[in-house]
């Protein structure tokens, strides 16, 4: 029903899962203590989102409406288990630092929400793209919050990156600020809440000041169509 | 109280005689010690009252002058919400009222003056004055030395509950207790309201023990049901809450707005309720009428059914009457069109009369609109057509002096047969069409109610139609006023056209009218046949109608000539 550009815009900005839909706040607040953790979980979520969207889109015409949620969750759970095993195998440090939040991706409302709202109504290609955009949007928010918290709490960026990206990444760590006293609050959940609130406020300010920047959706009801309409 | 203690006590005694209370308490605030002394002294000398009356001194605390608060102070009882003190057996009156009562009863003086306190820094002679009711406030102030340049506000009442006057050309009323004329700088400018800091001082001072804060929140948010839940209607608008508010919020203002909004809402609701009741009553009335009409129609139909099924020979008689009429109309139609049917002129007359009578009975039995079943309408139409034909037959009989059948010699029997057959067909078609038109007419007219003007119009129109039909017949066309086909060669074109027009007009009129048509047509048929004597009025009407018809026919003829 919408162009790829529209899907991208929705996923990244207008309907961002973390800042607008406010979905998936639990991992968002809990694992964004460092940028690496945030990036890791964001990527895991994005992968699960893309593949779950594809799979659900493929089976959308065969699943009875009454049991669709159960079927979706089963698909998502299978995918999350796969991802978890992969992370366990190839990025064990990350697996340890993410802890319970990796399997908890199953309960992340973004995935089931997009499955219900988009993947079950569109073809696999579009669904995949939507999943990719939503996942990217979510990951971006995670990364911004994670870097902010890491900066304020530890004064570094990318600390522990070798857990995600491999041993070469340990040189990626940047020590930005040297604190005698770190702002402990930033590392704790209250700080995450405050940080997220400020991010949402920032997004609202930008939205208020840049109305022309957002692409308008195609007005479909502004004139009569004489030709037969496309399937919506 | 200091000057007229006796008078006040007289008034109290009168009230006592009327009300017969157990106890009388005169409450005076403690900032008036001289008044207390004066009243006590007067009371001690007043033996009638001294027994159960006493003067009590209460603390000077606003608003102890309010009736409910005073009752609470003196007796400790509270007046239940929504009730008046009389329900608790308590009566509260002003000393001014008591004095006025004494005056009225003893000296026959009505309430023509009252004590008004004039105060404020803008008047040079403040004090309590006896003021005739109706005195302009400007005059009163002037007498008290009002300095208009030093004043920008005049308040009727006290500083807490008084209302401001926009101009001074107003009279002193019987409720004007005080005129307050502050100097320009005497009262502070009302400051801008700040945010409520929820200090709760308003609740501390409210004499009605309400929660002004909650009332404020809900009044401001226009949540009037919640405000009422917090007992907004118990607010006496004394102004204590606004007085103490640190944020200078005009609380009483909000409550007044809320109260008036609630009052408006209730008024609207009340009006909506009444409108709904009216509407429902009207619906019920219309339904009742409809039902009534339907019942009567059913009854009439039943009756007609009964009368219709009462014998086949009536049908035969009607058919014969039809034939006779046709025969008679077809140029002194003498030949017997139907060889099988042998009947005399007399029998045809009799049959016609019977048919007429039946039609009349059917019509009278069904005075209301023929909104009933189709059968009834068909029967009515048939009866109508029969009656018309009978009328025509009768007319021709009359005209041809009852020797129609004998004059059939000049007609070619075959042609007469053909003409008769055609006439029969036409009659059938006319009957069907008339019934159809009547069905239409009745269908459209079923919900309408007939009124007298319609009746009259119907009568006239029917008469016109009748007259036209007659004229057409007289113009030697086929007697059937229904759509005429130019089948018989001996008719001239003009006559045919006239007949057609008349027929069309008649059809249109039949379409417009309903049951009145039947009845009226029957009536007019009767009267036209009788011609004179039977019903002078109807005959007159018929004559008028005939004249109208003639005029119309003339016009129609002119039109035709133009064409």
């Amino acid at each position: 029903m919408s162009s790829y550009r529209e899907i991208a815009w929705q996923g990244l900005w207008r309907n961002n899962p973390g800042l607008v839909q406010l979905l998936g706040l639990c991992p968002l607040l809990a694992v964004t203590t460092t940028l690496t953790n945030a990036l890791g979980l964001g990527l895991a979520t994005a992968i699960v989102l893309v593949f779950s969207n594809i799979l659900i889109s493929l089976v959308r015409n065969y699943v009875p409406k009454e049991i669709r949620i159960a079927v979706f969750v089963m698909i998502i759970a299978a995918l999350v288990t796969s991802v978890q095993l992969l992370v366990n195998a190839y990025a064990y440090g990350l697996y340890l630092s993410l802890g319970i939040f990796l399997p908890l991706i199953v309960t992340n409302c973004i995935i089931i929400g997009r499955a219900e709202a988009f993947a079950s109504r569109n073809n696999p290609v579009k669904a995949a793209f939507d999943g990719l955009m939503m996942g990217t949007g979510f990951t971006l928010v995670l990364c911004i919050l994670g870097s902010a918290r890491e900066l304020l709490g530890q004064g570094t960026l990318f600390s522990g990156a070798d857990q995600l990206l491999g041993p070469w990444a340990s040189s990626l760590t940047i020590h930005v600020i040297h604190f005698d006293t770190s702002f402990l609050l930033a590392m704790l959940p209250p700080g995450a809440f405050l940080g997220m609130g400020l991010l949402i406020a920032l997004k609202n300010v930008i939205d208020a000041k840049w109305p022309a920047q957002q692409p308008q959706a195609q007005p479909t009801d502004s004139h009569c169509r004489v030709s037969p309409t496309r399937e919506i | 109280m200091r000057d007229n203690a006796e008078g006040i006590l007289d008034g109290i005694e009168i009230i006592k005689r009327l009300v017969k209370p157990q106890r009388i308490v005169i409450a005076i605030e403690d900032n008036k010690p001289e008044a207390v002394a004066a009243m006590r002294q007067a009371l001690s000398r007043y033996s009638v009252l001294a027994g159960n009356t006493r003067v009590t001194v209460i603390p000077t605390k606003y608003p102890s002058g309010g009736e409910k608060q005073l009752i609470q102070i003196i007796t400790g009882k509270e007046v239940p919400t929504g009730a008046i003190p009389a329900s608790q057996g308590i009566l509260v009156q002003n000393v001014g009222t008591a004095f006025a009562i004494a005056d009225a009863v003893q000296a026959s003086i009505p309430l023509i003056e009252r004590v008004v306190t004039v105060t404020g820094n803008a008047v040079s002679k403040p004090g309590n004055y006896w003021v005739p009711i109706g005195t302009p406030v400007s005059h009163l102030l002037q007498q008290c030395g009002f300095d208009i340049n030093n004043s920008n506000q005049v308040i009727v009442g006290g500083p807490m509950m008084g209302y401001t006057l926009p101009l001074l050309d107003v009279p002193v009323l019987k409720g004007t207790n005080c005129i307050l004329a502050p100097a320009i700088s005497e009262f502070a400018e009302p400051a801008e309201a700040r945010a409520c800091i929820r200090c709760g001082e308003c609740a501390q001072v409210c004499p009605a023990q309400l929660l002004p804060q909650q009332l404020y929140w809900h009044s401001k948010a226009e949540e009037y049901d919640k405000a009422q839940a917090y007992n907004l209607r118990d607010c006496i608008e004394c102004g204590c809450c606004s007085y103490v508010c640190p944020s200078e919020i005009p609380l009483v203002e909000h409550y007044r707005i809320a109260k008036s909004a609630i009052r408006n809402q209730e008024l609207e609701k009340h009006q909506a309720e009444k409108a709904k009741q009216h509407f429902e009553a009207k619906q019920k009335r219309l339904e009742d009428e409809k039902r009534h009409r339907e019942e009567r129609a059913k009854q009439a139909a039943a009756q007609r059914k009964v009368s219709m099924n009462a014998g086949d020979k009536d049908a035969i008689a009607e058919a014969m009457a039809r034939i006779q009429a046709k025969k008679a109309a077809a140029q002194a139609g003498t030949a017997e069109p139907n060889a099988a049917v042998q009947d005399t002129n007399k029998s045809s007359q009799v049959a016609a009369a019977i048919a007429r009578a039946k039609a009349k009975k059917a019509a009278s039995a069904e005075p209301s609109a023929a909104g009933s079943s189709k059968n009834d309408q068909v029967a009515a139409a048939i009866a109508r057509a029969k009656a018309k034909k009978a009328a025509a037959a009768q007319q021709h009989d009359l005209n041809s002096d009852n020797s129609v059948t004998a004059e059939s010699a000049d007609l070619d029997p075959k042609k007469a047969q053909i003409a008769a057959a055609v006439a029969r067909a036409k009659a059938k078609k006319a009957a069907a069409q008339a019934s159809a038109t009547v069905t239409d007419a009745s269908a459209t007219k079923a919900p309408e109610t007939t009124d007298s003007s319609d009746d009259k119009k119907a009568k006239i129109a029917a008469a016109v139609a009748k007259a036209k039909a007659k004229k057409a017949m007289q113009a030697q066309s086929l007697e059937d006023p229904a759509p005429v086909e130019a089948a018989s060669p001996e008719l001239d074109e003009a006559a045919t056209k006239q007949a057609k027009i008349a027929a069309a007009v008649a059809k249109a009129k039949a379409k417009k009218l309903a049951q009145a048509d039947i009845q009226v047509s029957q009536v007019t048929v009767q009267t036209t046949e009788a011609n004179t004597g039977e019903d002078p009025e109807a005959a007159k009407k018929a004559k008028i109608a005939a004249a109208v018809a003639k005029a119309k026919a003339k016009k129609a003829a002119k039109l035709q000539d133009k064409e």
């Binding site: - | 409910k68 005049v154 926009p166 945010a195 118990d234 640190p246 944020s247």
Partner: protein, 346 residues
């Protein structure tokens, strides 16, 4: 001539919010002076820093909200918040601690909720909790009372420490006469109790004198006097302070009677820490407290009991901030269920 039309009442009690706040500020002076006397110049510096930050933050937010700055600032509520926060934190805490705290209090806790009258939580206390969690080390480094300090801090030294451009850091000033760094009386008692000492043994330490903390008892007395003056002036009403003191006193008495060795006496509880300050100045903040009289007594009792519980069983020595915030949460519920009976209703 056109006359001014207005609605009644036409007079008001000359007791605006700004006057109320000013009265509270002035009545806090006795306790504040006591605190300065016992704990040094740092108190004054912190309070001044807090007040200035509060005014600036409030002006900033009010400007963002496009409202009248002068009108908003003139109600003195920002000054009061600054004062209360300034006296609550250790005198020699670094300058950025108080600034972050005050900014949070004014901007987030007060203005973001709608400004004066609309905040749910007490701004000073919410900021105190934020600081306590964010900077636990700095927030628990109270100086030793001057009377028993090894190195009492003078003005210059205080300034240097607070603004971190001098040599001595806070720990220097925490050294008692005997050379060991000392904590607050409440802290000391708590640690000792957890180490197995009895109260009487703990009370023999230098930080205590005759059963109460040195200096702290005078501070509390100062705030008590200020509170009584406010009661006399009808600036506050008695229900909340009596509720707090009664709650704490009764709970402490009960604990003391049950087990005097492991629970401090009521007098100790009532005259140490921020008891009197909180009872008269913090808990009585009208915006965040309950509104009806009975509700206010209940509100105060909740605070008192919670303070006792947190002091004895909780992880933080001074509990008033948490207790006040928790009671703020209860205030709407208290208001919902406790409504005074109106005239004429049964």
């Amino acid at each position: 001539m056109a006359f001014k039309v207005a609605t009644s009442p036409h007079v008001t009690h000359n007791n605006q919010t700004s006057k109320v706040m000013l009265t509270v500020l002035l009545c806090a002076i006795p306790g504040f002076l006591a605190q300065c006397y016992f704990f040094g110049w740092g108190t004054l510096i912190q309070v001044l820093l807090a007040m200035i930050t509060a005014i600036l933050c409030e002006a900033f937010v009010v400007k963002l909200r496009k409202r009248d700055i002068k009108a908003t600032l003139s109600d003195n509520s920002a000054l009061l918040t600054g004062l209360l926060l300034g006296v609550s934190i250790p005198p020699l805490a670094p300058w950025w601690v108080i600034i972050i705290g005050t900014a949070f209090a004014i901007i987030m806790v007060k203005q973001l909720y709608g400004g004066l009258g609309n905040n749910i939580f007490n701004p000073a206390m919410a900021a105190y909790v934020l600081l306590l969690i964010a900077f636990p080390v700095q927030m628990t480094s109270w100086v030793v009372p001057n009377a028993i300090a090894q190195h009492p801090a003078d003005l210059l030294a205080s300034l240097q420490t607070v603004f971190s451009f001098g040599h001595p850091d806070v720990d220097w000033y925490r050294l008692g006469i005997d050379g060991s760094s000392m904590a607050t009386p409440l802290d000391t008692l708590k640690i000792d109790l957890s180490m197995g000492l009895t109260t009487s043994e703990s009370l023999t330490k230098a930080v205590f004198s005759s059963g109460v903390g040195v200096g702290w008892v005078w501070v509390n007395l100062g705030y008590l006097i200020g509170g009584l003056i406010m009661l006399k002036l009808r600036t506050i009403r008695w229900h909340i302070p009596v509720g707090v003191i009664a709650g704490l006193g009764i709970a402490a008495t009960a604990g003391y009677l049950i087990s005097p060795d492991t629970h401090a006496s009521p007098i100790f509880h009532l005259f140490s820490g921020a008891t009197m300050l909180a009872a008269f100045f913090i808990a009585t903040d009208p915006v965040t407290a309950a509104t009806s009289n009975r509700g206010r007594i209940l509100f105060g009792v909740i605070i008192g009991v919670l303070v006792y519980l947190i002091r004895n069983f909780g992880g933080y020595p001074d509990a008033f901030a948490f207790a006040v915030l928790l009671a703020n949460l209860c205030a709407p519920l208290i208001d919902y269920y406790i409504k005074p009976r109106a005239y004429g209703h049964r």
